[in-house]
Symmetry: C3
Subunit: 474 residues, 3 copies
């Protein structure tokens, strides 16, 4: 007999009745607010082309590194999950068999946010009332697959059903933004904007850096032989991105190092980067200098700047060689912001018209570095708990460790940061519930008045993200 599944309306709230009741009230007031999704990785072609999604496995399982990493950690080969290896080794090609394997191991996700998101997707998006397990797998697969073939489950229909007011995708400066141009010229009113993510052209250690610069020169129409021309080209691409809706840039550096070097040094580093003779230390200097350059450009074009530092990418060389990036083998590193950000902050930290949104995977920096920096510098704001910390306990730790020093108004609401489009409502729902829970505790313990919590839950769920990412004007 299949196990029933039902999302409890009070899930994630404290089970203490006083707090639970306050949290319920706060949550219900924001439950149906539109979703602001200012940072994420959905594919703009979905919305531009509006084709049906392929099948449950290709949509919900195979692109999700959270799922792949956990299954892999328990000895499940990626090939049996239908992930293609560069070696051309045999791979499971039946999506239903892959789904069955996933369902057989669904218990591994107990206690993880993946489980919360997936249960939400099944219950709320697909109206499934069975729990996923080995027995229910086939039924659930067919049920989802049938729905994906209908008009109601095309990307635009889901976008509207999810009540998304605006969603930002993330693209390289080398991307021609064809889908975004198509969307701009389409009468469909959904607001899909791009984000300027220049890692491939500002990191000398990125694959094919000098070829990327050639392409940058070609796309921008600027001569990139000199550092000055290179900066002009970047400025031009930012402008192009802005014309397709971008309100922000995003930067995925190994660490938060910034620099403010003399122009002659910049020119030298740039030439070495082009020539491929730059050392690791110089490459870090160059990336740090480019963060400062990007900040200075932001003063002119108004793009909000996001920094996502501190990941050891592709920690598993054998997996990387066979299966490539984003298969769950990225591991966080210790973070440092106080010394690293100083050169940039010395230049623009006191500017109220510039915004630098910081993210971290090192939770020790919350109370020690990030909250003190955001609680002082006009330019600094804190992004929501990121990646491994985009979870109920992660959100609680974030609020508990940030709020007393930085308050609520130096934070920027929630980011879903996902390519898993169907989980976006689930992720925002978790964030709204956890914020309601945190505020309810403050109210129940007489650390905050209820009417203030009612204002705050609106701000945290909707207004702060819109303001911080400058999304008010369409």
């Amino acid at each position: 007999m299949p196990k029933p599944s039902r999302l409890n309306p009070q899930r994630l709230f404290s089970s203490c009745p006083i707090q639970r009741d306050i949290a319920t009230g706060l949550y219900l007031a924001v439950k149906d607010l539109p979703i602001i999704s200012p940072h994420g990785h959905t594919d703009p072609r979905w919305f531009a082309d509006n084709d049906a999604f392929e099948n449950p496995t290709a949509l919900l399982l195979q692109p999700d590194h959270y799922l792949l990493r956990m299954l892999y950690s328990q000895g499940i080969d990626l090939a049996t999950l239908g992930i293609h290896a560069s070696t051309g080794a045999p791979v499971e090609t039946d999506p239903e068999k892959v789904w069955q394997l996933f369902a057989d191991h669904y218990g591994l996700f107990r206690g993880t946010p993946t489980r919360l998101w997936m249960d939400h997707v099944m219950a709320e998006v697909f109206n499934i009332d069975q729990r996923l397990d080995g027995d229910s797998a086939a039924d659930i697969y067919r049920h989802i697959d049938a729905q994906l073939k209908t008009a109601e489950f095309r990307p635009r229909a889901l976008f509207e059903r999810f009540n998304i007011e605006v969603i930002a995708t993330t693209e390289s400066p080398l991307d021609p933004l064809a889908a975004h141009q198509k969307l701009r010229d389409d009468p469909w009113p959904g607001r899909i904007i791009t984000t300027f993510r220049p890692d491939p052209v500002v990191d000398p250690e990125y694959e094919n850096f000098s070829a990327n610069i050639e392409q940058l020169a070609s796309l921008s129409g600027e001569n990139c032989d000199s550092y000055k021309g290179y900066l002009r080209a970047l400025r031009e691409r930012r402008s192009f991105f802005k014309s397709l809706g971008a309100t922000a840039s995003d930067h995925g550096h190994p660490c938060a190092h910034t620099a403010d070097l003399p122009e002659s040094t910049c020119e030298q580093l740039y030439q070495r980067a082009l020539a491929g003779t730059i050392t690791a230390t110089e490459a870090e200097q160059f990336r740090g200098q480019l963060l400062t350059e990007m900040a200075l450009m932001s003063l002119d074009d108004g793009l909000v700047m996001q920094l996502h530092p501190g990941v050891y990418r592709n920690h598993n060389p054998s997996l990387f060689e066979h299966y490539g990036r984003d298969k769950g083998a990225d591991i966080p590193l210790p973070g440092e912001f106080v010394r690293h950000l100083k050169p940039l902050l010395d230049r623009v930290g006191n500017r109220s018209d510039f915004t630098l949104i910081l993210f971290t995977l090192d939770e020790t920096t919350y109370s020690r570095e990030l909250a003190p920096l955001a609680g002082h510098y006009p330019a600094v704001k804190l992004g929501p708990p990121w990646w491994f910390h985009d979870s109920p306990e992660g959100m609680l730790r974030y609020r508990q460790q940030i709020t007393e020093t930085a308050g609520f108004y130096n934070t920027v609401g929630f980011n879903d940061d996902t390519r898993a489009f169907l989980s976006i409502p689930a992720r925002h729902d978790v964030a709204r519930r956890m914020d309601a829970r945190f505020l309810a505790q403050l109210v129940a313990e007489h650390r905050l008045e209820l009417d203030e919590a009612e204002v705050l839950i609106q701000d945290l769920s909707y207004h702060l993200a819109k303001q911080a990412y400058r999304l008010q004007e369409s």
Copy 2:
């Protein structure tokens, strides 16, 4: 209509009824105990001269870096808050307008300890029953201002009303301690003592170090040309401070580095420090050596030693240039104690007649380094959660991460560490409530007996501070 404000008698306790009731009982037993304030930054002239405070803004807002930093972080210029810049730029001079600006932005402090302290001051010290906001600002300002002009709100009257048994201020060895001498000769019985804070004469990187040493020589009557004479001068000033009540020294070093160097090396470093030719590394060695020297002097004169390491002072150079120190731009750094303290502990760590009280802004050191050190060395005790962590969540984390390894009796009760005199009762009240809450949880979960919690709450609120700082004898 103004919003009513009332301090809930059960604020900060868990909302779980079982825990709340136990916490209430524990708290009520210590609510009215005298305040022991063994570490702080009030101005001794307040008590020596007993003049009326100037106005609400000058008293409650402008000297408070917690307030300034948060307002500044949201783009409010310090000049509009009436803070004078060295440039002589125009500044708001009407304290009531500054108060209004503060009140308009009082919502920024939601969820912060500043909010708790300020609400307490308004309700308990000034008997105000309105919530501070833009509408109530003017009324509240005038109400406070009128009271400040009365005899009941002079420093000594407040000291008595606050039931302060003893308060320590903090002074440089170069301070003649005129106010403390005046107080000694005054029949008023309030116990105001000094603390020996030698940073200006033990840190070669302090502004005007060599001039400071000249002044030290002059004040002490010792020839400071040699390291030996310099140590004699320090010893003499410690003795002078002790004669004006000091029971402790305090040290604000960039890190917890200590050293135990041969005398010839000390002499060399000292000469370079005087000559201004000392390197950064040598300066760290010198400061570290002086911590050990201070510890050795403590063996003789009995002063308790406090170490407050780990802050990047004046992180914002532009703000520092315009507005100077203590405007909210100090940012914590990662802490290290295990290797740094070893030279000092090798000398005096096993002495039960010496006390080293450690503070940190890096909470990761609580469970990893500080609790294990305090739970072993007879000389080591842990100061309360400091600065950014002097807050409800900060206090919970401290007890949760310290207690299981160091117990309660290797901690030293609460320090308010403040120049905000009127907030002292509020701060001690938060500490007593949070300790009651923590103990109540242990009792409710049968991890501690109620009669033991009743002993502990007395110790944590009163006795431990008195013992650790050797304040028993008047």
Copy 3:
């Protein structure tokens, strides 16, 4: 009048009634499961010889570094606790007087796990219904002492009464394992197994390293003049340990550094280690290489590998000189796993047939490094909260910071890690209670279904340890 003492049946559960009731149900289902103790430090001779324990003080107090450290931190000389110094200084020889001193200071342990364990031992093992304090000390001493003289309190009887299914001790490769051989040849069915702990022969900085290697050569019958012969000798000893039940190796390195060096480099380092000319950096390389060698041997012989890094051993040189190791003067250090483990993981991290169980004393690595590594690499599993963190709050932090990224199934259940044999049931009881509490919270907050929690509590209390340590086959 003596204070009554009673272990509350719901101790350590949340006092929130909803959670408490769920936790009670979960706990009762595993309360009486057999104990799996796969990592510890009991003396195998106890079980081989089955002699009576000496007296309460020698059994319960003097070997326990948790007790010694706290008492010492409050100025109690180890000599007054009957601990013999190498100097031959006078020492208290009356165990009853030592017990009285301990009881007089029992209040120091309030809020610590030591208190929970000791109360459990007194109540459950010795059926004492008084609280230990200065008044009850003598009575309790005599009561325990009398029981220790009876057959029911011999080691084997207690082993059976404690319902221990299997217990692992820890021995050096230089240990002839006489007690384990005696146990093998004894008809008593208790399962006592050894663990291979090669620190003395793989750490060039260990006391008498080259003499240890000579002994290794002699015991193994292998010529250890070359690195290859040395590896053969280690392999031979592993095989011998395995023949006496070992299913695991254990490694107590200063940090988690691993290496994968060319054979010629290994040979050079080995020769320098033997000659005593190896530098500190080279010694770290050598230790790191040996971890990789051990992992490679595990692929063949199936021993599970445990790594316990990150302690500054014997931080107090004066105490070490007088009283030796394990007196409470070991202090944790910051941990690093992401870069340190990479050489080893590059070799064997993707192997599902190899298990590396990681421990840490630096809790910052839980969410930043350990959970991401365990949540990806098939070979990596996480050991339970260790040493200073083997405590209620430590266990909560562990589950809260690990579970959302690594789940439950990349953890390995509980280790008691103790030489305090009588406290083993207490320690496992705390772990089972805290896991029940954690799961109860997830259920009460609708983050997990009750039937799933019922499976998990069985796994966490019993099955995971048995599987991870390969203890299924006897």
